[in-house]
Symmetry: C2
Subunit: 345 residues, 2 copies
DNA sequence: CCGGTTTTCCAAAGCGCTTTGAACTCGACC
DNA sequence: GGTCGAGTTCAAAGCGCTTTGGAAAACCGG
């Protein structure tokens, strides 16, 4: 059933039927009722491709999905997607994923832009050497970033969390508890979020007169295995008098590994080691259900997904005309994994 | 730049340019070269919506993304997506996600079908009372299922793993090791995979003369918290003479909780309790990096994603004309978490 | 050199929708 | 009675591509 058939059936023009369906005012109430009723009865739905062609709007937002043999999608992506999806539903937009390996990312964006298959895109996993912003700008593709580039010369829309502040607060708490030998199991510092977090920790340390070099810092992919390995390297065979007394962890997955290593080495939280983890709020893995409930810096990535979608749609429709950066505060939730530093000796 | 402009630029008709670009034979090598070169130079890309309208093909596969306040997307979805994406890239199809709450799922499929925004869909998380198969059939929407309905009257394409066999093998191993009191922390038995797994465990038990009632079976969402809670319920304050000596776990997340509970209760694997977990192969959480490496039933969900995409595209193009069920064997990987049952007493 | 292929190219007709510009109806108003 | 404006409806022109049904050009053997 297409528009032509429906309009013939109703003895009306396609114009009128189209307008009745799309809620334009210049059609009588009675006609609209008839049209709606007939459309309903015959299960008529406008062909989305025809509509897209005619209007120039795609009714979808895009994302370039990084794929490749050794690319692991962040598991938090699914939470982000859930948030995005919830809002997308309200605004009746679809989400179009274009898979692309990193080296063909540019090409993918160009294709998206030229083929007009989406109305806008969101960028995530912002890197230090971020190229995409200039690219999508050049392409005239409306966009919003989840996270931000290092370069503060922003002028584009983004939603980010206050990574610097979060890890400042976390480190600050540890320092106030008397810890002086801190370790930080960070994410890959090619990404800006990891850089910001490191900055936060350093700032807190500087505030207590500690040099950057006093921090045991490790950057790696945020997997359970890496958390375990790094914690083992830090604590196995380490002199209790010089080993770290507190660990900051960038994700619940690394924390999982860290906790496992501590367990195995017989180190107790918070007696021997205090631990603070970042928590993106992942329903399958909750910090308060750990044996020793974890102190965390908490920020819902799902909420971020919803907000990203909301703002991107607004940017596309023009409701948001001068996109700006938005930085969310992060809660520090103190639970049982943090405590006073063990007495020296 | 559109086709018309490009063709004028080349002093050729749109027909010829279109054909040159799309690899049709009726165009001279020289002309094709010129066209390709010009298209390249001016960055011409066919408008995807126009093309879709003209060809009737969408160049995308669809998925109805379950969303809602209390719906948690399975974290494995991201791995599945990675696999799907890898193949989608090769076949140059996009992935279109249509968010929908469960109660408006039907509507979403109808909309997808009527608006022809995708060429086919895949279904996942198959339920016992699966309605979607009949629906997409009625809608004439090409589809493939990840997993399968209970009803063996198949006749549709699916890719599933041998859940029954996997858990039969796992239970069998435990039984052969002398375990007689088994517990099974299963996933939600509204889903068929959980039912199949339970069947497998029961079959193995029956083979050893054990009644179904001898199994401590618990079905719940596969979260770390649930694993912990259920393991605690099984082992805390339990008489060592009657408590389970082995636990089967449906996912690495529940296993995480189970292991935590055992740790906390001072129970050692495999001395006090043997554990076998199902492992979907999640790079952020590996069974062989556990303190006690876990015996697992292993099957890559990423590989399944790739295969699903491959077959769905084939079904759409008609290369696969009589879609059939495909059931993958599951490896049983024996590591250190399983051992002989503790001596009675 | 000619009729018949084969190769190469083209004009025009869709695909199914939106939207412009015009027309038609009808009561109101002067 | 004529004009005006509001309220309805419509025909037709796109949107940018693919594809059908030729036609022109080039090639071929006889």
């Amino acid at each position: 059933m297409n528009l032509k058939q429906l309009s013939e059936l109703l003895h009306l023009s396609q114009t009128t039927v189209s307008r009745a369906l799309n809620g334009y005012p210049e059609v009588s109430a009675e006609t609209r009722r008839r049209v709606l009723e007939a459309a309903q009865r015959h299960g008529y739905k406008a062909n989305s491709n025809a509509r897209k062609l005619a209007t120039g709007r795609a009714g979808a937002i895009g994302y370039v999905l990084p794929v490749g043999r050794n690319v692991d999608l962040d598991p938090h992506f699914v939470e982000f997607l859930a948030g995005l999806g919830e809002h997308a539903l309200m605004r009746e937009v679809d989400l179009s994923l274009t898979p692309a390996p990193r080296e063909r990312e540019q090409e993918a964006y160009r294709r998206i832009a030229a083929s007009r298959s989406v109305d806008g895109v969101y960028l995530s996993s912002m890197r230090n050497d971020e190229q995409r912003i200039a690219l999508v700008r050049e392409l005239g593709l409306p966009f919003i970033a989840h996270g931000r580039a290092l370069d503060p010369a922003a002028g584009y829309g983004f939603v980010d969390i206050d990574n610097e502040g979060a890890f400042f607060d976390a480190a600050q708490l540890l320092l106030q508890l008397g810890h002086r030998r801190l370790a930080f199991v960070n994410g890959d510092t090619d990404f800006t979020f990891a850089v910001h977090r490191l900055d936060g920790v350093k700032r807190a340390m500087a505030g207590h007169g500690l040099p950057d070099a006093a921090l045991r810092h490790h950057a790696a992919a945020m997997t359970e295995g890496n958390g375990y390995r790094l914690a083992m390297a830090l604590f196995r065979d380490a002199d209790p008098a010089t080993r770290p007394t507190a660990v900051l962890s960038a994700s619940m997955f690394t924390t999982l590994g860290i906790v496992r290593a501590l367990d195995q080495l017989g180190l107790k939280m918070p007696r021997d080691v205090s631990v603070i983890s970042h928590d993106d709020v992942f329903p399958f893995l909750k910090p308060d259900s750990f044996t020793v409930p974890l102190t965390t810096t908490r920020s819902s990535i799902r909420a971020a997904g919803a907000r990203i979608c909301e703002r991107l749609v607004n940017i596309i429709t023009g409701e948001e005309k001068a996109p700006l950066g938005e930085i969310w505060p992060v809660e520090l939730v103190v639970r049982a994994s943090t405590g006073p530093a063990p007495r020296a000796g």
